[in-house]
Amino acid sequence: MNERGPSSVDLLIASDRAPAKAHPELLTEDAIWALLDNVKDPEVPAVSVIELGIIRALSWDGNHLSVDVTPTYSGCPATELIEELIVEALRAFGIRDSHINRVLTPAWSTDWITDEGREKLRAYGIAPPQGNASKMSLLGTVEVITCPFCDSKHTERISEFGSTACKALYRCRDCLEPFDYFKCI
């Protein structure tokens, strides 16, 4: 198939990095999804970008790989870093020619966080989003959020925003621990 010689950069610069694998075209899409499952969200390192649901699609054009990524929030400061981490992970795997497509539509929803991701969030001390984003009410009832530490439903919201835009700040009235809640959007 394709003859992929070393790129011009490799000829000019000695590198102490592991040599790239020579046949990226042999990588199946499943292998790339599995690879990206190792790329963690830098702000919530408990979950991967796959579990978070922000990788929307992969597509090959010859040796060129496009990765569609959607930001969680418009102003999420981790967006650029996540994109760099993805490109870096792909390069380390031998995929030198890749680029990130930032897609806004359909807008990211917490409904896309996988079950595994939700469990990992809980284990990490962040209450996973509860209920369905499409049913979120504007000025209505406050949802009952379960404490990720003691499973109590006796919790209260301290602030609509926690340590990042995607989280709200809660407190458990039984075990008294404060905790982040990953908001439904």
């Binding site: 102003g75 806004l104 539509t105 835009a165």
Partner: protein, 254 residues
């Protein structure tokens, strides 16, 4: 007014209002009254910066004169800024910061909700993302208005004074001009009449729950931000916000 000109103008209004309010909010970094509020305000500001960038990028493509999003943001002067007068008003006490946010959030929420159905795909996509964030902003600011209004004697007095102080800047939010009409006819912008009804409806509903009085719909209003005629505050905001890229135009990282 051509539709293209109106579109450029409209995109800059959305971008500039997000940007200037965000800049105002970031002045509170390190000095908000409570740490939870500080985090909330910084996160709201961050959402607004992200949305502003999306609007600026699209505006830059539409204006197509070689300027990119950064240049539109950092190299235009007050007369070229198209933000609402409301968002450039100073933070003052926390009641004023809250009332300003609430009036803006109601406008922002209904505007974005309508833009989700714009027959311009890019606008619809940016709005679909932004409206989820604006929903949280509005929930937070309306809860604070209720808490302060229905709180202590002092909190009630302060938020009522903030409502009275800022009311004169709210007319601009719901008074359409030629750009707004052109955008509505083009199937992009919200129906001005509906926006006005929705805005007053929600503001009055929340105010009633907060035991607050709102001003008259036909009260005298300051206008002009949307066409570049600003209050004296905008120049100071831009001086601070634009200093670095103007002083070091070749800087690419800071």
């Amino acid at each position: 007014m051509t539709e293209q000109k109106a579109l450029q103008d409209y995109l800059l209004r959305l971008a500039d209002s997000d940007m200037i309010l965000s800049q105002r909010l970031c002045e509170l970094c390190g000095k908000a009254p409570a740490i939870e509020e500080e985090m909330a305000i910084m996160n709201v500001g961050l959402d607004l910066v992200g949305q502003a960038r999306n609007w600026y990028e699209y505006a830059a493509e539409q204006i197509d004169d070689g300027r990119d999003a950064d240049k539109l943001c950092f190299l235009r002067d007050a007369l070229d800024y198209r933000n609402l007068l409301l968002v450039e008003q100073p933070n003052e006490d926390y009641a004023v910061t809250t009332a300003r946010q609430f009036f803006f959030d109601v406008w922002h929420y209904f505007t974005l909700k309508s833009l989700v159905d714009a027959n311009d795909e890019r606008i619809a996509n940016i709005a679909a993302k932004a409206v989820k964030e604006a929903t949280y902003h509005l929930r937070r600011s309306s809860e604070w208005v209720k808490r302060m209004g229905d709180g202590t004697e002092e909190s009630h007095r302060r938020i009522q004074e903030a409502f009275d102080l800022l009311w004169r800047f709210t007319g601009e939010l719901v008074t359409p001009d030629e750009t707004d009409h052109t955008m509505f006819k083009a199937g992009i912008g919200p129906d001005p009449e509906k926006l006005k009804r929705d805005w007053f409806g929600m503001v009055r509903e929340v105010a009633a729950q907060a035991t607050l009085k709102t001003g008259a719909e036909d009260a005298w209003m300051y206008m002009g931000g949307k066409s570049g005629v600003h209050t004296e505050h905008l120049g100071f905001i831009l001086a601070e916000m634009q200093f670095l890229p103007r002083a070091y135009p070749d800087a690419t990282t800071w």
